[in-house]
């Protein structure tokens, strides 16, 4: 048995949720842990799916279907956009595709995520104590228009909150307002991949569906500020196989330059 990292476990857990004929939208330009969550882990999971013969493509912003198996030498713009790919669209044309449903899966993370999958990357605090984060970028589009959004996020009581301070991306419900009331065409958040467990969304909101090896339901709930619903038969995911780890490790993703 080979030792595995948390990121590798997250990629292995995410990978079976990527399907034939789909395209996933991956963002770049974040730093540190956020870069691993929204760029590194989705790329690893996509590579793993493709290693099993699943025809899953990605797009890096307007760069469509880059050769995942031959990643760029670095994460600088000139390197990313020089990646062998099928198309390099202009951003406005790329947004058009997004809005009409061309993106199957959007990979996102958040500073705050609530029970209903509402996501906040904009502002935290409240009256008299607001602080700004970076801003929405295309997160609202991921939540509104992608076939489904997959959240990749470490468990923490600061992140998994009862109610987000500010809605950057709409989940399944806020107060009495539901997705169907708004006419949002995409599927919204469908899966939450964390460092310890997987969640989906049911009638009662976020729902614990699978634990990573050696993790208990208590470990999970202690790192959330609300109690998630739980499926009747909670799965425990197997440890990554040597074959999976071998496939993950053949993909040499570049280090961040800074």
């Amino acid at each position: 048995m080979t030792e595995w990292s948390t990121n590798e476990m997250m990629a292995v857990a995410l990978s079976p949720h990527l399907h034939d004929g789909e395209i996933g939208f991956i963002g770049v330009g974040s730093s540190g842990r956020a870069h691993e969550l929204v760029t590194g882990i989705p790329l690893l999971a996509a590579h793993l799916a493709r290693s099993r013969g699943v025809d899953f493509d990605i797009q890096i912003g307007p760069l469509i279907a880059p050769e995942i198996e031959a990643p760029p030498a670095g994460w600088l713009d000139n390197e990313i956009y020089g990646w062998d790919a099928s198309a390099l669209l202009t951003s406005d044309a790329n947004m058009d595709g997004f809005l009409r449903g061309a993106v199957s899966v959007g990979f996102i993370s958040g500073a705050q995520i609530d029970r209903w999958g509402n996501v906040n990357v904009s502002r935290v605090g409240g009256e008299g104590s607001w602080k700004r984060l970076g801003g929405a970028l295309a997160l609202p589009e991921h939540c509104a228009f992608a076939g489904r959004a997959i959240l990749v996020c470490d468990l923490s009581t600061r992140t998994f909150v009862a109610d987000v301070d500010y809605v950057t991306g709409f989940g399944h419900r806020r107060g009495d307002v539901r997705r169907s009331d708004l006419g949002l065409p995409g599927g919204g958040p469908a899966l939450v991949v964390t460092d310890s467990a997987l969640f989906d969304f049911g009638d009662e909101g976020m729902r614990l569906v699978a634990l990573y090896p050696g993790v208990s339901p208590n470990d999970v709930e202690n790192r959330m500020a609300f109690s998630p619903d739980t499926v009747a038969t909670l799965a425990e995911l197997p440890i990554p196989t040597d074959e999976e780890l071998g496939q993950l490790r053949e993909l040499r993703l570049p280090e961040l330059p800074w």
Partner: protein, 286 residues
């Protein structure tokens, strides 16, 4: 065709106090930094900034206390962290922030570019941003509610490009990065100033006319500014300057350091002197 060549100081005098100013590029690529520094040094204030994805351009102008409001989908330094002068202005309430998403801001600029007063979007439905920039309307043709947002129609746009001819035909050539909406911003703005890495002959533009992304008759002024996007990158010319970006991020976090940065690199510092000071500091592109 008219010759559009101006030096940066002359071009930046076209920006009037209280005007709306669009800034091109995105995050750490092709930001119009030489123009933004000249504007910051000019003291022209009460500016309403419009940028798709802002970074040092916005933060520097806020740091120079020239900004009244910001419309954008993001202001930050990407891998270099949060824009701290921007965050202080938000907390102090000295700048009004109207937050958009990427596609809703594209829609707004497109409406401006096509002479319409509003754009329609669904991207902000159910979000907190809707209250800042949108109003719900009912389609006269039926269907679910939809949001209207105002058209962006900036008084003047500041862009940085790889090259142009003296008539202002803006060329984008390989290797290029297309992840921006400069061509839409140019079409939406009443005046457009573009700084470029180099001037191409008109003959060369004619031979590569499929590479002209903005035609010269949209353009008010062309300024030659080698490394004019520094410390952000310019496709095929130079990458973002990591050490200078890190230094700016540190300065942005401390009001005194920021004033000292503005003294060293902005106020009264001409573009060629700026590059000499950057190189003396040992920037990555030195």
């Amino acid at each position: 065709m008219r010759n559009k060549m101006m030096d940066i100081a002359e071009a930046i005098r076209l920006v009037e106090p209280g005007s709306s100013v669009a800034l091109g590029g995105a995050t750490l690529r092709r930001k119009p930094m030489a123009l933004a520094r000249a504007l910051a040094g000019s003291g022209t204030g009460d500016l309403d900034l419009w940028t798709w994805i802002g970074s040092l351009d916005v933060d520097l102008l806020i740091g120079a206390q020239l900004v009244r409001s910001v419309n954008s989908a993001y202001v930050g330094f990407g891998a270099f962290g949060l824009a701290q002068a921007t965050r202080r202005a938000f907390v102090q309430g000295t700048v009004e922030f109207r937050d958009w998403s990427e596609s809703s801001l594209v829609a707004s600029f497109r409406a401006g570019a096509s002479g319409l007063p509003i754009a329609l979007t669904r991207a902000l439905l159910g979000t907190s941003m809707a209250a800042e920039v949108a109003r719900e309307i009912v389609s006269p043709f039926g269907g679910p509610p939809i949001l209207a947002v105002p058209a962006a129609r900036p008084d003047i746009a500041l862009l940085h490009a790889q090259s142009a001819d003296e008539f202002g035909n803006i060329r984008r050539h390989a290797p290029n990065v297309t992840d921006d909406i400069d061509h839409v911003i140019a079409a939406a703005s009443r005046q457009v100033i573009v700084s470029v890495e180099r001037i191409d002959s008109h003959q060369s533009i004619v031979e590569h006319r499929d590479e002209t992304v903005i035609p010269g008759h949209y353009i008010t002024a062309i300024c030659v500014a080698p490394r004019g996007a520094h410390p952000t990158g310019c496709d095929g010319y130079y990458d973002p300057d990591g050490s200078h970006l890190a230094a700016y991020a540190r300065a942005s976090a401390d009001p005194e350091l920021l004033q000292s940065y503005l003294r060293d690199f902005v106020h009264g510092v001409a573009p060629d002197e700026y590059l000499r000071r950057v190189d003396a500091d040992g920037g990555d592109t030195a």
